[in-house]
Symmetry: D2
Subunit: 322 residues, 4 copies
């Protein structure tokens, strides 16, 4: 299923090289000002074209089909679509029986018995994060309209390929692209200005919902809150946040419930799976080994484009907590 | 909400020092052999009493109220309760206005406007993982009855306080207990013998569901799959799993769907929040600083008791994928 | 699945002749006064023993296991069980291969491959409406605590066996019991004091939710709102409710949303399936025709006991609308 | 929320006079042949233009945006939109403060604080049943692909304005149109060729799910299964279906589970709310009484167009039961 949320429900659809991709957002309050322009800032932050990202420029023009009337949300579901205009389907036809390493090609083909759309990863494409970003824009507005304007959701790329010094990123990206290889990265997200008492014990803990949503972003390998994995190497007296809070080892969450401190989490993104280097793979029909050159133009480090996506899914979770 | 799952639905209830804790499992197939004894092995693995765990021995006797007839599941919901017999409520009454560092006391009190049961963490207590373990026993049986007997779910504690050499754990635990402090740890879970093609794209990705369930376990700070956070520091040519699979950097999952390789994930547990050392905290009513000595008998490292809980929630997810 | 509701979630479990039946209610607000006595009035209204109902007196003593502390709800799930004490299992053992007409025996046996508990209808027994009534008590309190005290939910039996004159019911019941036969009836429910604007368009229309919940009551054959089936025989100019509302042909609902007028609906209950008369049926194992005398003591008209159940499911729906 | 279903999930969106209306169907199996032409037969059955229906011909051209590749479903969500081309918005602007009797105008305006799209009923328009019909086409295919080709879903209009003799319908419709009034009707739906054992006890009983879905169709006032309301006036010995089944008073369902006999239910539709006659209503802003002439061209009896819609929602339920 491609749906998330109980109160603020997000349904994504579409394939990378199909007619259109899109999202239906249900559970939006009536009366929130919303127009096409509201989406452009976040959509631009996800766009390719900058250093380290693919030169393929996609059409990212949102078309609002429903749920908005005279510049305000109506309370009815908001459907938004993005037409696919710049698809080069020819690139992918040869790959049908030759799964690309790191991609969903093989697993999807087993699951859908070969009927999945293979062009550009089809429904598994990172392009599907575009409707997520659109849903995130609405979610941010809904959350703010409920709890006031103090909300701040800010995700930033903190590491590329293990390098934390941003001054060295340009050279690292250039060298890696030159090698025909790719890089991963770590995004940190901070959510400030939220009230204490959000979330539910157990299965709807704030961490459960955020991690659920974050792992829907293609390419995520891990998530940690507050002190994260490092907490497992600390003593209780070091890790515990003493009241009044002067540190935030719990990442703003106790027992699954917000404690009023900022929510802090980090997300590990893998290196881009599609690389220019020749890779070994298997022709799953014939069983013979194959040298594979993945066609198309790819991000050297797609993590560069992900902070706004992480913010979007975090906002979608927040909009479900109120 | 305290419910998880679409096909195999788990509802937990209860408080640490109330009448009883328990679970209702709905969506169980008819005809699976099930009796009280089937639960005892996993329940024993979670039990306290061993080195590094609390000497407080709880009553962990399951009482099956429904859904089983003549030794087999009937297809109707299975309700299981555990009476609370060994509760020392007196220990906790003094704490009402003095939240224990690292616990849900403060956040819960805000959320539930002071009406939450404060005794032993109430509904937020780690004791609630006992019904999870019971549900996991049923989940393992259901999954095996559907996909055959090849399933292996095995979770192991790999680190305590950063120490990976198990020979040194006894001394580390003893010293830490002597200091009145506590330790965290890392559990690794491996799930082998599962078919390719399980899971859904996007919001019901296998990682989304497993992380959702895992973060419902009290005290989890992070989760990673396959190469995990290390993947963010690898190049694409290093991280990609080339077909036929000789490594498993993706942890058995591509695009949210199982690829037939074992699912591998690691979970970071924080150190036990309740420690013998005196801690600073706040009287939230008067606003004055307080020296707090948390009463009760506690695990030095509760992570020792968690592998079977991690297995249980993983099994609950698997039972939802079929 | 045996669960209902998004915000106020009800999970029932148990079998007529098993250990216990019960309910877990999740999504209850913290701070609502609640004790055992609060349940007794509605439980008594459902009880048997009066004219036209079975002389079998069941144990209807609620045991609250969780979610209540010092006389108030805590916000955690409330689990309530009822032990089964007066079960005569011997009555039912002979019926395993001989489905009782009108009962779920055959359909359940196909669905659960013969593993369902056959004693007294097992999980399909009307006894499972007892936990529904308990959940209804909580639902009424939750709704009132949110929208104020003006709420009135009142269900009444309007017809027995087509007879609307209540003075003639006693004789009708006596005669029918004497024939070894049974009667159905029609219950009307009126919900006043609710605000306009509750409900959702389309799939969560108030009628959708109420009918969904009402058909979970065993023995319901139909439901109608406002003018109901008669509306299909009226002209638009007769049926339309003109503003300001002087009639209520829509039953208080337009487009699935409450309009502020009382919600009015009627529920048709079939005659009790178990009758004293000998009935023809089939031995499903041997295929031969059988004369069946259904053992046990039964209601002549179980509809007599249903008004409080109809109120309960209506209240459960209302608690989900706020 | 505008979503229905657990396994086969349907999300509708759109407004009568907005850009487009549509549906996303999630949970469709891969490999089902599907193309635009497959929708045309059912869409035509819903179309207006025939005797007794509005002469307004809407654009009912489906545009498949996703989930279909090379003529087969891919397993990814299927999004289908219908552009609104023939909208005369001017007709409705005057109505903003003057709710039309029988319509959702007033209730919607309260719920959405005046931000709902008022043109043609907006999201509450009967036009939204067009995407339901499209979803029904997919549901029928999915159900048949799972249980074989024996399925027959057949809904028929049985009564108009209480008249069961079809020969007299033309005159009745003509006279009523001439009076500027409208008529209701009763649709009977029969579902044959389904296996025994579908459905769940209690809240997911087949009746619960079908009634839930049926009441999402605008204008439904009642539903009954098998003997329906008449069952409440029968004795147990008359109503009970004796095995082997020679009658079908239960409508093919016992205890919420199919028994192998055809499912039979009847749906009562109200008369069309919009009539040519002048009606009294209220200006909700000024509080003064108003004479209202509802603009636009309307069905004399919209029930004429509903059998295919009833089939669609029944098929959507069936696709959720497998």
């Amino acid at each position: 299923m491609n749906t998330f949320g109980r109160n603020f429900r997000v349904q994504v659809f579409g394939e990378s090289h199909g007619e259109a991709i899109g999202v239906v957002v249900d559970g939006v309050k009536a009366g929130i000002p919303l127009c096409k322009e509201d989406f452009m800032n976040d959509i631009l932050r996800r766009k390719s074209g900058a250093m380290g990202t693919t030169p393929r420029i996609e059409s990212d023009e949102p078309e609002i089909l429903s749920g908005v009337f005279e510049g305000h949300t109506t309370g009815a579901p908001i459907a938004i679509i993005f037409r696919n205009l710049n698809a080069r389907s020819g690139d992918y036809n040869a790959l049908k029986d030759v799964p690309r390493p790191g991609h969903a090609d093989y697993a999807a083909s087993v699951k859908f018995e070969g009927f999945n759309d293979p062009r550009g990863g089809g429904h598994f494409s990172g392009r599907l994060t575009l409707p997520l970003v659109a849903a995130g824009v609405i979610a941010k507005k809904q959350f703010c309209s409920s709890v006031g304007s103090g909300l701040e959701i800010k995700a930033e790329l903190k590491e590329i390929g293990g390098e934390t010094n941003k001054d060295r990123w340009a050279a690292l990206l250039e060298n890696t692209a030159h090698e025909g290889d790719s890089l991963g990265g770590i995004v940190e997200c901070l959510i400030a200005g939220i009230p204490a008492g959000l979330g539910e014990p157990f299965f709807d803990s704030v961490e459960s919902l955020i991690s659920h949503a974050v792992f829907s972003i293609p390419g995520v390998r891990g998530i940690e809150f507050g002190d994260g994995f490092a907490a497992s190497r600390m003593k209780g007296s070091e890790h515990n946040d003493v009241f009044p809070l002067t540190k935030n080892g719990a990442g703003g969450i106790n027992g699954g419930i917000t404690n009023g401190a900022p929510i802090v989490f980090r997300v590990a993104f893998k290196p881009t799976s599609s690389i220019a280097k020749t890779q070994k793979t298997l022709n799953v029909k014939t069983g013979e080994a194959v040298d594979l050159n993945v066609p198309g133009r790819h991000d050297t480090c797609f993590a560069l484009r992900t902070p706004v996506i992480v913010e979007a899914v975090a906002a979608i979770v927040l909009a479900n907590l109120i």
